[in-house]
Each structure stands twice: as structure tokens, then as C-alpha cells.
Amino acid sequence: MNSKEENNLKKLMTGNEAVARGAYEAGLKFASAYPGTPSTEILENMIQYKEDIFSEWAPNEKVALEAAIGASVAGARSMAAMKHVGLNVAADPLFTFAYTGVTGGCVIVSADDPGMHSSQNEQDNRNYAAAARVLMLEPSDSQESKDYMKLAFELSERFDTPVLMRMTTRVCHSKGLVTLGERVERELIPYKHNIQKYVATPANGKVLRKKLIDRLKNMEAYSNETEINKVEYNGTEIGIISAGVAYQYAREVFGDDASYLKLGMTFPMPIAKIKEFAGKVKKLYVIEEMDPYIENHLKAAGISCIGKDIIPEMDELNTDIVRKAVFGTVTETLKTEKEAIGRPPVLCAGCPHRGMYYALSKKKNLLVTGDIGCYTLGSAPPLSSLHTCFCMGGSISSGHGASTVLKRGGSDLRVAAIIGDSTFLHSGITSLMDVVYNKGNNVTIILDNRITAMTGHQENPGTGFTLMGEPTTEVDIPMLCRAIGIKDENLYIINPLHLTESGEVVDEALAKDEPTVIIAKWPCVLKKFSDQDKREFDLSPKSCVIDQDKCTKCRLCVKTGCPAINSGEIIEIDPESCTGCTVCMQVCPFDAIREV
């Protein structure tokens, strides 16, 4: 039992809060990130340390990592944080940074999302550490998130390598007790030119490549001796090798009936320590989420084990899954005859995206390529007006490829690409250049809701504010589009909640054989409005009601997909959810809906 006194010294923290705290205690000076679930709160928690740490939202993850690299070269401890798919964007600098190494310690936090709670895939980013050959740590709870973060900076400087701190959703978002420490301030390491180290030309690269191989040997020796690769010996029958939150599940399921090798450092792998452990147990299990990453390292080293032949390779694990896989036992549960109806996420009542999607839903012969954000929900019924979604920034470029081959193939199917403001600034700009430069003709619709909404309202270069809360120069999106080459007459700025205008502008743009951009500008209904928002938009509280005498129950309003509209015996609007966006009022053919 923890005593009450002991607990008084501890704080209940999420893994993300603990990562920020660990970085603070380690003397971090610079942090950059692009928001993405489940990593977003790391930088949001960094703001409390703004006296000591400069924190920023970068336009994308590649920029975030490059900024952190620069801070390291200049002699500071630095970090970049991102969700798993963000590391795909930042992979280019990562692989070469692994060659050059660091000056100030540099840590890259990758927050993976097994089970895809809020992601488009569930890639296992441990593979990146092995591919780029960077040291990797994997915490399994909040205390380790803080402790490993501090260790990561030490190891980064000791081995002259960037360190990948690999988190997962459950580690990021679960709270556990954490003992806090003090910040140790670190002076900047004085800068000296070092062209051989930091200019990755082929000639220098060959030397750096050799150094990387030597570094791997040293890091592996450390991996074999470090206490974070820890053996807990409880007998010879069953041995378990595990890492991250999977260790917590395994530890709970097997209790004291198994011996454990809990890995905190998973690249390079401690092969000697694993061999020694494997030699002491009769039956060896590897319990890990997603890919057979640890298992493959064991098998390559000739160590046989039971792993993905029983443990699922997809989705997140839990104690039920581990128990069932190993022992075949299932906990008895209460069964009911009735079933709960789902609560799928939907565009909010009053969401400005609804207006544009409603307008698009009326167009025939149109392919709408989509992107990552709240507005991906435009693919859901009843609007069903978004037809593809791959990755950040991909709507415009994939739309360009589609429209080019359709046109050359003589098809009359037209293409519109839809993208949010933050996603456009993340990586849509270069895609728009592709359309203009290569003489495409697709329509780009930028849903500018004045914030990065999906991840919980972070500022971006288009909002006029920084992460640290300071006013700043904002990107002028229309001027940016003009600079790329969109002609004045092909650039439209509209309020998407005006359905007729939205529909007409889309028609006009689709009729042109030139690249066009429609900026659908209205702030997110959940946003905390800035003074500028209040000046620019009419945001006074409103509400709509249905006049039951006039309502014919034609259900056209229901087909806008607004969650404030209830359709039972009668159709009515929930006054508490309605924001008075008037989309339903505009679609009602019987004037049965009015503003109050």
C-alpha cells in the first residue's frame, strides 16, 4: 500500500503531462510539434513552463523536427512531438539526423494509436527506430514517461544520437502517480562550426555512416546493461518479454506466476540479456501490441518464442485479449437482449462545414477528394459528400491526379478537393502548386474554420496566435493562393452557411477549365472566438424552431445530418444544441423553420 504521506508527494498525471514534465526537469529549452491525437497534450502541457522553454506549433511534423534539430545544433536540449503518421512526414530529416547526431540532446516523441481511436491507420513506429538506427525508449506508464524522458536526453548526448520516445494512446492518455523532481538548468553548449558532422554530403555521409555502425555497437552494449531492461525472476516455468503498456497487461494476467524481462529500451535490442533470460525459462512468450517487432529481433537472433501465433497482430491489446490468447479463458459477462444504439461522431450542430457538404451533396457527377480533419465526417450519411481520404494534404494532389486522367480519358466526371485551413498550411500548399504548375483544372475548397479543430482547437499559422498565446502575423490564405498562381477571377471567398451562394460558386468553379480555389470561411462553432473573429463574423447567439403547423414531415431538414434535429413522431429542434446556423431553415421548402 502506498502510504498517504508518500502519495502526498506524487501527482496523478497522464503520460503526455509526464513527458512534458520530464523534458522540463531535463532542462529542455525548445519544443516543436504539430498537433495530432494522442500526442497533442504534450505541447499543450509545455506552456506552463514557458519561462524556461520555448514551445511552438509548427506547420507540420517535418518542420517541427527540423526546428528541433536546429536547436540541438545550436547547443540546446530540444524535442519534437507528433502522432505516428506525423513521423512519416518527418521521416526525411530523421534518417539523416541519425547519421549526424546531436549537439544538445534531442528527443522525438512518436505517439502511436493502436486500435485507431482517432487515426487513419495503426502503423507501428518502432520500425522507424530500427530502420533509421536511432535509440528508442518505450515507457509503459506515466512515471516511466517522465523518467525515460530525462534518460532520453542523457542518452542522446552520451551516444550522439537522436532518441525516439515511443508512446501509445493508453500510455499518453492514462493517468498514474508520478513523483516530481526539480528542473536542472543546462547552459547552451557553445556553438562551433562542424561541417564534417553537420553537412550531409555523400563524402561526409560515408564517414557518418561508419560512425553510426560503431554507435550501434555501443548502444547495444548499453541496452544489455541498463536497468530499464529489467528482469523480474519468479521461477523457470514461464518467461515473458514485453514492453510499453502491453507489459502492464501481461503483468496483470500472469501475476507472480511468470518471470518477466520488461524492456524499456527497444532499440538496439538487448540481445545478450534476452538470450540469458530465454535460457532460464521453459516457455517464452513475447507479448507486444501491433507488429512482431520484438519477436522478429528474437527470431533473427535464433531465440524461439511464442508471439504473434497467439497474440493478435492488429488492434490494441488488453488483459482480456492476453488472457484469452494464452490461457483460452474468458471472463463471464452479463448478456442483455437489448442492444445499445451507436453514437457515431458527427459534424456538430452549427458546424460551418455542413453548409458546404450540403451544397456538394446536390452536385451530380462529382468526385470529392478529402483530407484529415473534422471535415472527414462529411463522408458519413446522410451527406456522404466526401469520397476519399488518405493523408494530411493529400486531397488536392490526389484530386489533381484524378482530374488529369479523367480529362485525358474523355470522362465528364469532375473533381473537387476539400481541405481544412490547418491541413492546407500543413502540406496542401505544395499540392496546390502541383495543380497550377501542371495546368490542372480541379476545384480546391479550403474550409477555413479559423482553428485546428479536430485535435481540440490549437492555433496554426493562419489564426494569428502562437502556442504561447501571443498575437502573431497570420498567413493570408487568399494572397498565398494568388502567389501560387490562382487568378483573381478563380478565387472565391464565401460563407459556407449560405447554401445558395455555396452551390452557385461550386457550379461556377466546376465550369472552368482552370484551377480554382473556394475559401469557405466561418469559425468553428466550438471555438473560443478571438476579438478578430467577433469583428469579422456575426456570431451573436441564435436559434431556430420548427413551426409544427407548417411542418409536413418531408424530412429535408433531417437530411442535413444536424444532431440538433430530432425526428420522431414530430420533427423538432433541440434548443440547447441549436446554434441558429439556419442550414435547416434554408433547406425547408415550406417555410416551417424560423430564427428566434
Binding site: M1, N2, S3, K4, E6, N7, N8, K10, L12, T37, P38, H117, S118, D141, R170, H173, S174, K175, G176, L177, V245, Q248, Y249, R251, E252, N318, T319, D320, R323, T331, E332, T333, L334, K335, T336, E337, K338, E339, A340, I341, G342, R343, P344, P345, V346, L347, C348, C374, L377, P381, P382, G456, R555, V558, G561, P563, I565, N566, S567, G568
Partner: protein, 192 residues
Amino acid sequence: MSEVKNILLVGVGGQGTILASKILSEGLVKAGFDVKMSEIHGMSQRGGNVSTQIRFGEKVYSPIVGKGEADVIVAFEKMEALRWVEYLKTGGKMVINDFEISSVPIQQGKAKYPEGIIEELSSKAEVFVFKAGDIAVELGNKRTMNIVLLGALTKAMNLPGIDWEAVIRDNVKKGFEEINIKAFHAGGDQVN
């Protein structure tokens, strides 16, 4: 106490489950337990269901509760009670707020809100049902509904020796301490 206890708070985005979970977990920490708490943020802001899982005991490993393992489930909404009942341990208790929140398939007329949830659940488990929202309104502040439910939960958990009033004072908005403490006790009175 060596055994780990499992609590689930389930509801719909915006019902105040997060504050109730925070007060609960802080009380348990003050009492000297090891505590883990897990939330899935997901897309709850956009009408999804929310769940908070709290586990406490001498030493807690997994941050999430398995099926058939919850000692107490508090459902802030009726249909959520139905959704999560398979997580209830045999002999576990349920506190259910007798309150309906529709969902999009229901609003769209594609599905019907299930009838007779309370009756079915009451026939299968020890269930405490009341209208926490009405109790909160009677006390004078609708927004204390979550604390009414927290009061019922702590009573159902039967954990003596925790100064819940002090934890509530530390966590609610200034000026709203007394009404929240009243709400807490009014919730407790629903569980006997």
C-alpha cells in the same frame, strides 16, 4: 486491501464525467491507494460516448478495466448503462441516471432508442436508478448532476475514511462548493 477495484464512469460528451472522475481519483490518491485512470478522448466532443476507467488498490498494472471486471459502473445516461453492462463483475453494482440522450441514428429515424433498459438491467444486477438531473435542479443548479452521481457512486463503493467534502472543495469552482457538497450527499441518499 490487496485486491484491485475497478470503477467505470460512462456517459455522453458534455455530461461532466471528467470532473467526477477527477474528484474520485484524487480522493483515492489521498487515501493512499495506487490509482490509474484512463480516458478515451476520441471524438466525444462531436456527440460520441465517453468513458473513464478508474482502478485502485495496493498496486495497479493495467490502466483499463476488462470485461466482467467492474465493481461499480455509473452510467450518466441510460443507453450507456446498456452499452457497458458486459463490463460489470458478477455481483457488481450499477448506478444509473434515468436520463435519455438520443444519438444520430435515432435522430435520423434509422433506429429506435431501446425501451425497458432499466427493467432488464434491474433483473440482472444490483441497480440504483434515479433522476440525477432532477435532484440537481431541486438543489438549485442543474450542473451539479455529475456530483449527485459521484455521491451515489462513492456510497455504492462503500469506502469509509475518505474526506470527499475536502476533495470536492478543492476541485469545483469557487462559490459553488456548498451546493456541490449538498449534491454529493443527495446522491449518496439514493443508494441504500
